[in-house]
Each structure stands twice: as structure tokens, then as C-alpha cells.
């Protein structure tokens, strides 16, 4: 949908498509690989129309083999290409984990920068759409913990396009997590053509002096909703959308939590070993003496992401976040 010159109103999944199209046009070394991405246009239609436009050599339907095509993409990246692979759902990335952990993420370090892997791995992630088993994982922390790969997770169409382009241009491997639940939830004006959003920079989505709410991906709308509810009670929240999960935007976090002294971190994933704990470490390291209340974390539980009949009780909700906001306010 065209709104004004040079701008289109897009959903997140359309913005991803637009970024891929832009970069396939822009750079000859970009190549897409994955299951069902060509003829079918991707199970979420993220690659819709790209096979027709760019041909089978640049939009490659691969055999069903995550380790195979991710490993092959590493080889292509070593040899001058900029592959963008699609993992159909984050829950199916695990066969490729070895390739990512033991090769993509450490090739540069092992060879003193001689060989590099400018690879992008895209994966829809997260629960909340009543999907079958294993289709709802949010295991970003397995990758933020992994040294040698950046992890990016947009929450909006504008950021999705700008960050994906930045990821493709990045000289190092990037895991690009797409919030499945927000894929078509809303539209936003997205500029046509190429632009980037810097990796490593978060964004303040709402301003308030009382409390900081930190979230990413599919939890950003949850945090925003909670902040709106809080405002009705006279509590004003800064809402930070991290956008990049590794490396964290330390300065943005510190600036906000030093101002408010009260923080709630919202994480869809399991509690133990989650990214919220790293955010907490940043707060501890930068802003300990500014804190007026212990930081609250609203997270999923230490249980396998449940079947969908139970997912409403697993996922953080605006009500749970609001409860945490009130808790840090009333400390």
C-alpha cells in the first residue's frame, strides 16, 4: 500500500520481504537459501515474489536440511557471497546449531580475520499464534551467549527492514529473529529503497520518568500496552525496545534506568539463563547506585514452551507487566 511518495505502509513480514528485494537488487553477492522460500514464497510469505524476480540461482529452495544449507551458506560466505538463510521456525534451528557455534561464529577469530562469514540467519520465533508443538520457541539466549554472532530482533516494520539491511551488510554473522506473532499485527510507514538501522542501538518507544520497561520483539507491544495502563494510574514509563540483543545498547539502558531508578524487564523466553539477566547485569554494572527498587523480570517459565492450550498462561501479558510495574513503584 503506497501512502506517500517514497514510502509504503507495510507489515513486518512485508518489510522483511522489501529488505530482501532491496538487497537482491542492490548487491549481486546476496543469495537467499532455505526450505520452501522459492516457489512457495516462504511459509509466511517473507520471500514472496523473489524467485520470480531474481531467479533460481539467487533464491534457492534447498533440501530439508538446516545443518546442510547453513553449512553450505558458510562455505558460500567464505567464498564471496552474502547468504541469507531462512530457518522456517526458530525451533528448527537446532540441527544447524553446530555449524553456527563451531564455525560461523568463530571463523574470523580462528584465522585472525583472514576468513570471515558475513552470513545472515533469519528465523521467525515466539509463541502466541496457536501453532503446533516446537513452532513457538524463543531461544535467543542460546545465541546471545554464543561468542562471535550478533543477534537482532526488530519489533516494527521500519526497524525490520533497516536492521535486516544492516545485517546483510554486516561483515560478521547475524541471527535475525522475526516476531511471528507481530508479523501481520500492524503496519507502519517504511521508506522505499535502501536504508539501515544501526545494529547495537535500541530505541525508546515511549517516554516517562517513573519507571523503565525494557523489552524486545514480540514483547514490545506487551510492554507498550502495560505502559498505557500504568499511565491511567499516573505512572509514566520509559519503554525501551532493545532491537539488538547482542551487543546490548548499554548507554540507552543506563541513561533510562539512571533517570527512573526502577526497572521492569519483559522477556518471552524461559527465566533461567535468559537475556533479561544480561540486561540486569548491565544495570548492575552501570547504574547500581541509582536504583530505588530491585529490578523485576517478567518472563516465561523454566518449562518447555507449552502446547498451545497452555500458552496463554506461559506468555507474559500486559497485566503481568503492569503488576511488576506497580511492584517496583511501591517498593
Amino acid at each position: 500500500m503506497i501512502t506517500k511518495a517514497g514510502v509504503k505502509s507495510l507489515t513486518i513480514v512485508q518489510a522483511v520481504n522489501d529488505a530482501l528485494r532491496t538487497m537482491l537488487k542492490e548487491r549481486e553477492d546476496v543469495i537467499l537459501l532455505g526450505e520452501d522460500i522459492g516457489k512457495n514464497g516462504g511459509v509466511f510469505r517473507a520471500t514472496e515474489g523473489l524467485l520470480e524476480e531474481f531467479g533460481e540461482e539467487r533464491v534457492v529452495d534447498t533440501p530439508l536440511s538446516e545443518a546442510g544449507f547453513t553449512g553450505a551458506a558458510i562455505g558460500m560466505a567464505l567464498n564471496g557471497f552474502r547468504p541469507v538463510v531462512e530457518i522456517q521456525f526458530l525451533g528448527f534451528i537446532y540441527p544447524a546449531y553446530e555449524q553456527i557455534m563451531t564455525h560461523a561464529a568463530r571463523m574470523r577469530a580462528r584465522t585472525r580475520g583472514h576468513f570471515t562469514v558475513p552470513l545472515v540467519i533469519r528465523a521467525p520465533y515466539g509463541a502466541g499464534v496457536r501453532a503446533p508443538e516446537i513452532h513457538s520457541d524463543s531461544t535467543e539466549a542460546l545465541f546471545t551467549h554464543m561468542p562471535g554472532i550478533k543477534v537482532v530482533c526488530p519489533a516494527s516494520p521500519y526497524d525490520a527492514k533497516g536492521l535486516l539491511i544492516a545485517a546483510i551488510e554486516d561483515p560478521d554473522p547475524v541471527l535475525f529473529l522475526e516476531p511471528m506473532r507481530s508479523y501481520r499485527a500492524f503496519r507502519e510507514d517504511v521508506p522505499e529503497g535502501k536504508y539501515t538501522v544501526e545494529i547495537g542501538k535500541g530505541k525508546k518507544r515511549r517516554e516517562g520518568d517513573d519507571v523503565t520497561v525494557i523489552a524486545w520483539g514480540a514483547m514490545v507491544p506487551v510492554a507498550m500496552k502495560a505502559a498505557e495502563e500504568a499511565e491511567k494510574k499516573g505512572i509514566y514509563a520509559d519503554v525501551i525496545d532493545l532491537r539488538t540483543l547482542y551487543p546490548l545498547d548499554k548507554d540507552l539502558i543506563a541513561e533510562s534506568v539512571q533517570k527512573t531508578g526502577r526497572t521492569v524487564i519483559v522477556q518471552e523466553a524461559h527465566a533461567t539463563g535468559g537475556l533479561a539477566n544480561d540486561v540486569l547485569a548491565v544495570i548492575n554494572d552501570t547504574s547500581f547506585f541509582y536504583q530505588k527498587a530491585p529490578v523485576e523480570r517478567v518472563t516465561g517459565f523454566d518449562v518447555p514452551v507449552p502446547f498451545f492450550a497452555y500458552e496463554d498462561d506461559y506468555l507474559p501479558t500486559p497485566a503481568r507487566v503492569l503488576h511488576a510495574i506497580e511492584k517496583v513503584m511501591n517498593f
Binding site: 526450505e35 520452501d36 546442510g68 540441527p95 503446533p132 507449552p306 497452555y310 498462561d313
Partner: protein, 356 residues
């Protein structure tokens, strides 16, 4: 190479027996039992698609067209055998003894659907492709090392042969002569990807050569070929002769799942044509007519019984107690860790507060 792996048929499309060696064994009783299971699985599948459309269950994976693979192979099993299915094999699971209500509960997002009936070794469907193959190899080794005569069947699709776990499972099983049947349903598509894009080989059966085990290519729409060849492979397994790879060539008529639109990647006219020509149920009907065993009244009666069974299961599913969210915490470990215990307690407390 495909000439070395010719497609085995027992009952051809016209409903004629083309392998006289099996003539004696194909009794009226066996045929009627096969037929009953075939139409039961088909009626259940259609019902599930319609329940999904009405929002009464979640995303559903239909198998219509593949009934002969699932029924024939499941009927070949002994009670003590193991079954390792995929998400598409609830036809096989039901034929082997999983109840219809459990099948429905699974598709309604309930873990109750993963618990097999007492005494039945039906493992929950594996959703990540090919991951169940090494499990089957291991379960089979265990049966062998325990000295039993139990065997294992594991199902997987054509696409699954591209995953590393396919190789690892077959290799492990062949090294240890594990009593396992690797039952491939080659429906010729992995979502949108046709077999020609999945592999260069024209058959899946020939991959058995690499493991020095028998590889068999059968007509997967011929319930008798499936039944007899699976029975023979299971016998080999029980007799300590090791694993077999069976490629059952078939076709799914409909979508990959209820969220898939097959017209994006293939001409659905092909499915229409196949319904008329190679349908697994029609050919048994033709056979029964030829033999003079066809009895309209009996068929109506069977359909009536299956319908009643389905209606009862749907009612049971819908009457089922609401999902208990404690379940999500309670079954992770034998003894909950303090983290889980605390998280559950805090959540329950908050929830009670909200309800007040």
C-alpha cells in the same frame, strides 16, 4: 538405479491381485478388516479438517491419500512393538491403538494427546523432521539387548531423508543389526519442495545400499503390499537379521497442513486424477467387487459405526476438562526444581489475585 528397485505391488489399481503368492493369505476377513481401517482413517481425517475450519481444533496435518501406508504398516505390528510416528501419522497411531479422543486432544494443543493407551509403545509424534530415526534405532537396540522379540517401526517422509538424522539413524541401526523397520512415506513433496529437488536419486529405497541393509520400494497406495512387506521386514527384525528400509510411494491429496495452500506450488488437478486412478480405498473396493465380497449394507453399517465413534470422540474432546496450566510446570522433572516450584507458586498467587 531405479530399475534395481522396482515398485512392488500386490493389488493393482484395477483391484486385481498381481502377486499370486499372497492369494491365499488375502482372505475375506483380512480384506474387510483392512477396508474398515481404511475408511475409518479417512473419515477421521476429513472430520479433523472440518473441525479445524470451524476453529474447534488447531492447525491440523491431513494425510488423506496415504491411508494404505499407515493402516497396512500399523496392522503388521505386534502388540509389543514400538511406533515412532511423525505429525502426519495419526492414522497409523489410531490403527495401532491410540484413541480418537487422544488424537483430537493432541490437535487441540493438549499434552493428554501424547499419552499412549496402557501397554502401547506409541511415542508422541516427532515434529522436528527426522529426529525420531535415531530414537527408533536405539529403542530397537534395547529390545535386542533385552532379548525380546519386539520390533520397532519408525515413520518419516521423503524430505526427512535430507536431514543428517536420517543417515545417523540408519547407520546406527545397521551397525548394531537393530530390529527396526524404517518406513518412508514418499508422498513426493516436502511442503512445496518436490522430490526431484530434494535428492538426485530417483528412489529412496536405493539409499539402503549405503548401509548394506535391504531396501524395498512398494506401492504405498496398495494396502496389501504395505501390509505383507512390512510384516516380512518386521519378521526379519525379530529374527535378528537387522533393519529394513521401506519406501512406500504415495501422494497426499490435500494441503501440507491446514495453513498451507498447495495450489501455490503444484497443480491440484493431479490430486483429482489420482483420486480416480490410484486411490488406496477405491482399489480395495474394486477388489471386493471382483471377489463378490462387496456388500453395500455392510459398508453402510461400518460407516455408521465410525461416524458414531467420531461423534463420541468429538463430544469427549469438547467436554474434556479445561487445560490445567499446572500441567505445564508439573511434568518437567520427576521432582520440580526450586526455580519451577517458585515460578509456579508466584504465578498461581498472582492469578488468584487477579480472579478476586
Amino acid at each position: 538405479m531405479e530399475l534395481d528397485f522396482p515398485m512392488v505391488q500386490v493389488l493393482n489399481e484395477e483391484g486385481a491381485i498381481v502377486q499370486p503368492a499372497y492369494r491365499e493369505q488375502i482372505t475375506k476377513e483380512l480384506t474387510m478388516s483392512m477396508y474398515r481401517h481404511l475408511i475409518r482413517t479417512r473419515m477421521v481425517d476429513r472430520k479433523c479438517v472440518s473441525l479445524q475450519r470451524q476453529g474447534r481444533i488447531g492447525t491440523y496435518v491431513p494425510y488423506e491419500g496415504q491411508e494404505a501406508c499407515q493402516v497396512g504398516s500399523a496392522l503388521a505390528l505386534n502388540d509389543g512393538d514400538w511406533m515412532f510416528p511423525t505429525y502426519r501419522d495419526h492414522g497409523a497411531m489410531m490403527t495401532f491403538g491410540r484413541s480418537l479422543t487422544q488424537t483430537l486432544l493432541y490437535w487441540k494443543g493438549r499434552t493428554e494427546g501424547c499419552v499412549p493407551p496402557e501397554g502401547k509403545k506409541i511415542v508422541p509424534p516427532s515434529v522436528p523432521i527426522a529426529t525420531q530415526l535415531p530414537h527408533a534405532a536405539g529403542a530397537a537396540c534395547a529390545e535386542k539387548w533385552k532379548g525380546t522379540k519386539n520390533a520397532v517401526i519408525v515413520y518419516f517422509g521423503d524430505g526427512a531423508t535430507s536431514e543428517g538424522d536420517f543417515h545417523e539413524g540408519l547407520n546406527f541401526a545397521s551397525v548394531f543389526h537393530a530390529p527396526v523397520v524404517f518406513f518412508n512415506q514418499n508422498n513426493q513433496y516436502a511442503i512445496s519442495v518436490p522430490m526431484t529437488r530434494q535428492m538426485k536419486t530417483k528412489t529412496i529405497a536405493q539409499k539402503a545400499l549405503a548401509y548394506d541393509i535391504p531396501g524395498l520400494r512398494i506401492d504405498g497406495n496398495d494396502v496389501f503390499a504395505v501390509y505383507f512387506k512390512t510384516t516380512e521386514a518386521l519378521e526379519r527384525a525379530r529374527n535378528g537379521e537387522g533393519p529394513t528400509l521401506i519406501e512406500a510411494v504415495t501422494w497426499r491429496y490435500g494441503a501440507h497442513t491446514t495453513s498451507d495452500d498447495p495450489s501455490r506450488y503444484r497443480d491440484q488437478e493431479e490430486s483429482k486424477k489420482r483420486r480416480e486412478t490410484t486411490d488406496p480405498i477405491k482399489r480395495v473396493e474394486r477388489f471386493m467387487q471382483r471377489e463378490g465380497w462387496w456388500d453395500e449394507e455392510w459398508v453402510n453399517q461400518v460407516q455408521g459405526e465410525v461416524n458414531a465413534e467420531i461423534e463420541q470422540a468429538v463430544a469427549e474432546m469438547e467436554r474434556y476438562p479445561k487445560a490445567n496450566m499446572s500441567d505445564m510446570f508439573d511434568f518437567v522433572f520427576a521432582q520440580p526444581t526450586w526455580t519451577i516450584a517458585e515460578q509456579k507458586e508466584a504465578y498461581l498467587q498472582w492469578k488468584r489475585g487477579m480472579e478476586r
